[in-house]
Homo-oligomer: 354 residues x 2
């Protein structure tokens, strides 16, 4: 069955997941990106942790994230070794205000039927011995996953065909490059924060939010981490995501600075200071890399997955959740391409739900 | 006049300066280094600041440094554009103990006839407006220089011939490589902290001292620096060396960790925190690079420049002063090679002075 041809604009985790699934479903696919795997998905930590992102009023995002989390093990298994980790998440609160925030989160989750484990300081240190004795309380979410985002992207990259050029504009069945065009049946805009320049409907829906991360590895004698650690330190969120080889991704700052991807001294300073207050032994880690990426934030933190007009689909605005939402986003895009109903949880990501 | 052949082991600033000067003096030279320009000289800040390194009891080092500083303008002029800056140094004291240290230094310098300018907080901020209002007092040394160490190394590298292999041992007129030898008339050991493995006489004289630096560039709206800034912050020394293009080298940690050149979280944290206390606007700089190098420290902070035995010279142990001492070291080595007396200030660097 030949389904026609799609051109995916953007080789981050969303674009590549869509391209891979579309190819498997019989579509000819090409991915347009001047530098595949160089954006927010490459810089990300790889947390697959919808519950600890929950907040009152954002129930549709929680349901979308949970549905995608359930799809992750099969998604990963089909791709091979993508460094999927199943040790779960612990969330730590540093001061009294941080602890109060976690109580709001835990109460909210309980009220919608998602009980999470509430931990005292000693209990959280029993789970993660590297945690500071200053940590007051925490939560345990054993069902969370984490993925090695760079392994994942390399696997997805190996399955795609690329045009290494920037997309300057898209139309019905066409992607315009600098000096040529790509003709296709459907264009999928999956260009993250750059998507807003490709269609007027996205211009006010999506905005760039800068994030800096540090990649660390244990120095001589440093205590390894088991679980993903999230924390609130004087209201600033910080996370530490361990990899199988002991490396840790420490992230992430969040601020609006256009499309600037320079790593600022203030960002590095805050990440290191906050991480050290939660995990003092992080000072004995080696700094391997610092990097910044641009998230595609949306007004309601939900992605936008829908037809924009005939021949043009969008899958963007995934903010901090691109890795988590890749499986359900690919499923939803495939449903739209094939004329089927989207997964129930993905209905909230359609334009008509805004 | 053919002088014979020398093999210089080590392509840092000392080895390359010696090779260049020897070549100009009629010697055939070859430099043995698996990775030229990758060690401490590459990582360094490029301060040429002997006075602010002075300390009671280290007068011979001060005289050596001052003699080399005087030789620097001509040395640089012969090489071309090496980013020599002549704006001088300001030294800042953060707390009362730091201010007391600077008073000891200034009194000492006055007692040996080197008066330096003593500055109040407001005076130091008039010289460098980026300086924190918390800085209590300081010193001004207008005669200090700074060099762009990487420009310098590139120029010196372009003048040398290399064997890109590690030296495994040296003997009278021979350097042993993995599977071959380099025959010559004289070997010059200029391998920095690795020199100690090349001759038994150096084993206890020289030891490795790790140093980490950060390279920064001004972000949008960041205040540029004019002079080299040195500071004591709660007894920890820190320096900020500006380049012509606005970049700043922030250094340097000092600790003994063998030959490890990994950049530790604790080092980065301390450098950023200390720099920010002296120059708060450093937080608005961009982190461009982090790196570590291994200094060759000696027991008395003086380098070792002498014959070790017939056919083997050493020029190593320059600790924090490799860039500063390159001209006088090259002069001294050339004098030894040619059978002339070494410059007076370099006599203290001979073995017999130990």
């Amino acid at each position: 069955m030949v389904q026609g041809k799609i051109a995916v604009v953007g080789a981050g985790v969303i674009g590549l997941s869509v391209a891979w699934r579309a190819m498997n479903s019989g579509w000819r696919t090409v991915v347009v990106d001047p530098q595949p795997c160089s954006g927010a998905s490459w810089v990300a930590g790889g947390m697959l942790a919808p519950v600890t992102e929950a907040w009152p009023g954002e129930e549709p995002l929680l349901e979308l994230g949970e549905a995608s989390l359930r799809a992750w093990p099969e998604f990963a298994a089909e791709l091979g070794d993508v460094g999927l980790r199943t040790q779960g998440t612990v969330v730590a609160a540093f001061d009294a205000a941080d602890a109060a925030q976690l109580t709001i989160l835990a109460d909210h989750l309980a009220s919608i039927g998602r009980d999470v484990g509430r931990l005292t300081g000693p209990e959280i240190r029993r789970l993660e011995p590297a945690m500071s004795t200053s940590v007051r309380s925490g939560l345990s979410v054993p069902g969370d996953l984490a993925v090695d985002n760079r392994k994942l992207l390399e696997v997805l990259r190996s399955k795609a065909e690329f045009i290494h050029q920037p997309a300057r504009a898209v139309g019905n069945g066409v992607v315009e490059l600098d000096n040529s065009t790509v003709d296709c049946d459907v264009v999928v805009i999956a260009a993250g924060a750059w998507s807003r320049h490709l269609h007027p409907a996205l211009n006010s829906l999506i905005r760039p939010v800068k994030g800096e991360i540090l990649r660390l590895k244990p120095g001589w004698g440093a205590v390894p981490l088991g679980r993903t650690i999230r924390a609130l330190v004087e209201s600033r969120p910080v996370y530490l995501v361990p990899r199988e080889n002991g490396e840790v991704v420490l992230g992430a700052t969040q601020y609006e600075a256009g499309y600037d991807t320079q790593v600022m001294v203030c960002g590095v300073r805050d990440l290191l200071a906050d991480a050290e207050r939660v995990v003092p032994g992080i000072s004995e880690y080696v700094l391997v890399e610092s990097a910044a990426g641009i998230r595609a934030s949306s007004q309601d933190n939900l992605p936008v997955i829908d037809w924009l007009e005939p021949g043009i689909l969008v899958a963007s605005g995934h903010h901090r959740n691109g890795l988590l939402l890749a499986p359900i986003t690919a499923d939803a895009v495939l449903a739209l391409l094939n004329g089927n109903p989207v997964p129930e949880a993905a209905a909230a990501a359609r334009l008509e739900s805004r």
